[in-house]
Symmetry: D2
Subunit: 320 residues, 4 copies
């Protein structure tokens, strides 16, 4: 009987619970024993794990966050920490570890695989910053949360005839800003990927005013290289308009996962178990051309997220 462990690591994302549930239930359905590892790699180092039966993952499908808790483990960054983790894996006799997380968590898994551990990675992060997959678990929920916030902000922004800058997550990847910009009808988006100067944003706002637009919304990713407060000040000074800042921050991580995130999580869990059952390991599960497949982990990690310039240009065309 195959024994596997499952953990969530790094920043939490909505749908991680759905992925844990899928791993546990599909695993048990194929005759595996599944252990939940708490607090990500921290728990792996400390031996915080317990067997999960089908009931243990009941009523979590629709919940945000992760029942397994998550953490960023500094000890795991060290050789000693990883050796300790391998010892836990040996002690419990685990044949493989399923890691649900983002970039850093995948890199950790790759390190483990170099120490002879079988790993299987599932993309759980709101940032959509993994190049090998078209979407990550949590991204759809996060952007929908941003869209809800924009709807609320629009009410007050329009009543006061203001400009509002909305800061969203995304240090290296501007996808949350980009998608929220298109789908939220923003006047402009500011991303890490594009070197856009504030002046062009101000021109856009002023042109909008001249055409009778009563308010405008600018979406700025965290990773755009200018402080948000400063951005607000500069726009205000150049346009002469009242400008406000809203920083969505951790709101974007929470909430009940959407259909897309629950489906992606379920499909990734299904595929992870199927591959493990077939004796395959060291894969990153991902969505390519609408299909959920397993990719070589090392190669997957090496792929950089492609920036969709056409979509970026659409923001301008649509809000002109």
């Amino acid at each position: 009987m195959m024994k596997i462990g499952v953990l969530t690591s790094g920043g939490d994302s909505p749908g991680m619970n759905a992925a844990v549930r899928a791993v546990v239930r599909f695993g048990i359905a194929r005759g595996m024993k599944v252990y939940g590892i708490y607090r990500g790699y921290e728990g792996l180092i400390d031996g915080e794990l317990e067997e999960l039966d089908r009931r243990a993952v009941g009523d979590i499908l629709q919940r945000g966050g992760t029942m397994l808790k998550t953490a960023r483990s500094e000890r795991f960054m060290t050789e000693a920490g990883r050796r300790k983790a391998v010892t836990t894996i040996e002690t419990f006799g685990l044949d493989a570890i399923v890691v649900i997380g983002g970039n850093g968590s995948f890199a950790g898994a790759l390190e483990l695989s170099r120490l002879g551990v079988n790993v299987m990675c599932i993309p759980g992060t709101i940032d959509n910053d993994l190049g090998y997959t078209e979407s990550t678990i949590g991204f759809d929920t996060a952007v929908n949360t941003v869209l809800d916030a924009i709807t609320r902000i629009r009410d007050t922004s329009s009543s006061h005839e203001r400009t509002t800058v909305v800061e969203v997550m995304g240090r290296h990847c501007g996808d949350i800003a980009l998608y929220a910009g298109i789908a939220g009808g923003a006047e402009a988006v500011l991303l890490p990927e594009v070197d856009r100067d504030v002046n062009s944003v101000c021109r856009k706002i002023i042109e909008g005013c001249n055409q009778g637009k009563q308010h405008s919304i600018i979406i700025k990713a965290e990773g755009y290289p200018m402080d948000s407060q400063e951005l607000v000040k500069e726009i205000s000074e150049r346009t002469g308009r009242s400008v406000r800042l809203v920083v969505l921050s951790y709101l974007q991580r929470g909430g009940s996962p959407t259909l897309q995130d629950r489906m992606l999580a379920t499909r990734c869990g299904d595929k992870a178990i199927e591959l493990l059952d077939a004796g395959l390991t060291n894969k990153a599960i991902g969505l390519v051309d609408g299909k959920v497949l397993g990719f070589n982990l090392k190669e997957a990690l090496a792929e950089t997220q492609e920036f969709d310039r056409h979509l970026y240009e659409c923001v301008d065309v649509l809000s002109r």
Copy 2:
């Protein structure tokens, strides 16, 4: 200068407004004149259309329903009605018509194309019943609405330790039921595509009870060949449990469109205009392998929606 018309037809779906906005704004950006046609083919017959500028489609991106109104036109089913529609198109000098709707609306467009009208079709229906495309505008919102409802129903179903049957839309295509079943954690789904007997559902419920499950949710598509009231009665008699029925009905058509539906609508509008601008017509825009492309309308209509049997089987595995 190219002149085009845009209409929404058949049952409304969330995201139709986003598609109308995209057609109008991308069209204008490419130098076209865009006319809005009201009440679908009815308005085309009656000449209810007016030019739309960029502002006319402001503040609709996030709204459910369709600002162009929609209808099912019986007159358009007749040769005389369609001839009248062609006359309107000639009178206004329209070079092409963009039709946003489902199966029946596409068939109408095909008829128009046979009379020499250039058409371009965008899939707007919550049913996801168009075989040539992986998703239709409105489907994602509709299933998310069903998931919200299931969360609410679960509260009371679980407090009373009951079974609840949730009837969702889908006369010929069970996708709403299937996706809501997977993502909502239903015990069983009943679809038009699978001949499943009620007995197996009852067995599932009883097994769940024996394992300590306090409640169960059965999702039934409209098109499953058994009356919902009767189904409730039969389950209640066979299991001895308290069973309730909730018919979600028109709730599923409304609501602010989700990210997915706004993106799909925007991309379809973009592609429709791009193709028209390139002189291509009589296409159905659709999502295949994660990409939005144009397909031959007649062939697209002929494709039947493939049923995802693996997903169907997952419902059972996940809720066992």
Copy 3:
């Protein structure tokens, strides 16, 4: 040390969990031992109870339904059943029972008090049908749920230029329909309290059409003495319009409780414990003139819910 039990009974309502939490935590804060009784009077008869500590009611404040489960107990309707319940109370040495529920549950508590049991009643029902209190726990959430549904229905109703009849809960008390009618902008409400003929509703719809209204919404309480399907048929025949029916049913019972319901639940729990601690019993806690107070249970049950005719007339004035 005082020992008390707490149970939820009858139809569940959002906020019951918040009330249970308040009873447990305020009780413990005053040095009481608090037992949770499962499945309402059924559990009291069967001795299904256990002590609850502060942690046992953690993370339930925001959840719909009731962690204590609820039921309608037929056995408790009999003298024998109630005697059995009293035996349980004696066995566990409970000094008082806090009953959270509606009309029927209060009547049950009154019967218990006649057998010498100290009771304290908290109004938990979505129906708002308890005459002695201005609001009941769950009513605010239920009407807000109806308002959300109306917003969704309006999207599609307006796109199709239809009339929609929305059936809401309320067998004897039309408050859900009345409040949803005012706050949802309905064209008319049909209630158990007012003998209104369908003709006047049809006149209203036709007048609206003549003034250019594209859609109309009629809210009908369950208790209005005409079958909903029949009502739809009659309106359709008399007005010649397309009319649809949506039955909200159990959706109204679920969902995370609103601010108002959480506050009312918390205040009722606080007051119940305060009174018990002061040696007072056989009270119904209620909201009068904006204050939460204890009333004589028997007298409270005897008060009939006053119908707010002025509000009813406002529906007409506002939608004329």
Copy 4:
């Protein structure tokens, strides 16, 4: 025939639209002519007003913000500005002005009344800082928005076992923080009304940890005299925990108004028109003991908001 004007002023609040609609429709029903004044006192000075018919306020009941726009007018602070406003009122022959807003807007109305203008004030502000009324239009929606945000934050806060500080609006009145604290299950609230030292909050967090609580939420009103970033730093240093800050900011002003806010807005509009029709003026409409009544404006403005110390203490008892 009586002619009245209606304006919204100061910060917008959800439900202002519902109040405007009520004033217009109840006014017309009593045979009045109603003018909408745009941008608050700014529009009154500039003569930006137009007659509103019943249809002009259609489909706004459920929308956040205010269709009349709002502003804070500096010119109106001057004698000259107010004289100009009076001239507009005379030019249009308005018999009275209905002002929907908060503290500052009421003070402006009082000034107008001193210049002989008949005014009627409706409390529209999310802050709940008007002492003469138990609630203000927008407060219920704002706190419900905060509760939704807390639910989302709790997901991620609990997955990471963190403490989160949530900054909410309220410069002088801590009611948003207080109610969100009770109803959101916060560990502590920090308000302008209570001089609470950070140390006691840290002790609370540490005690919670010791009892096994995985996360904690601290709600801080804007008006608590310590910078939020500094507060986070201090809590983090003293407790050794990971602490995060979320500033809800303008999110709190938007969104579709709740039942309570729509009802209060409708009732206030009804009462305002009733009093004007009866020849009464210079009143502030408010909710006292659950009833909507008119109060002398000057006296109403003089009343200070009473702080509910018992409720404040309940936060501690409930989260201990």
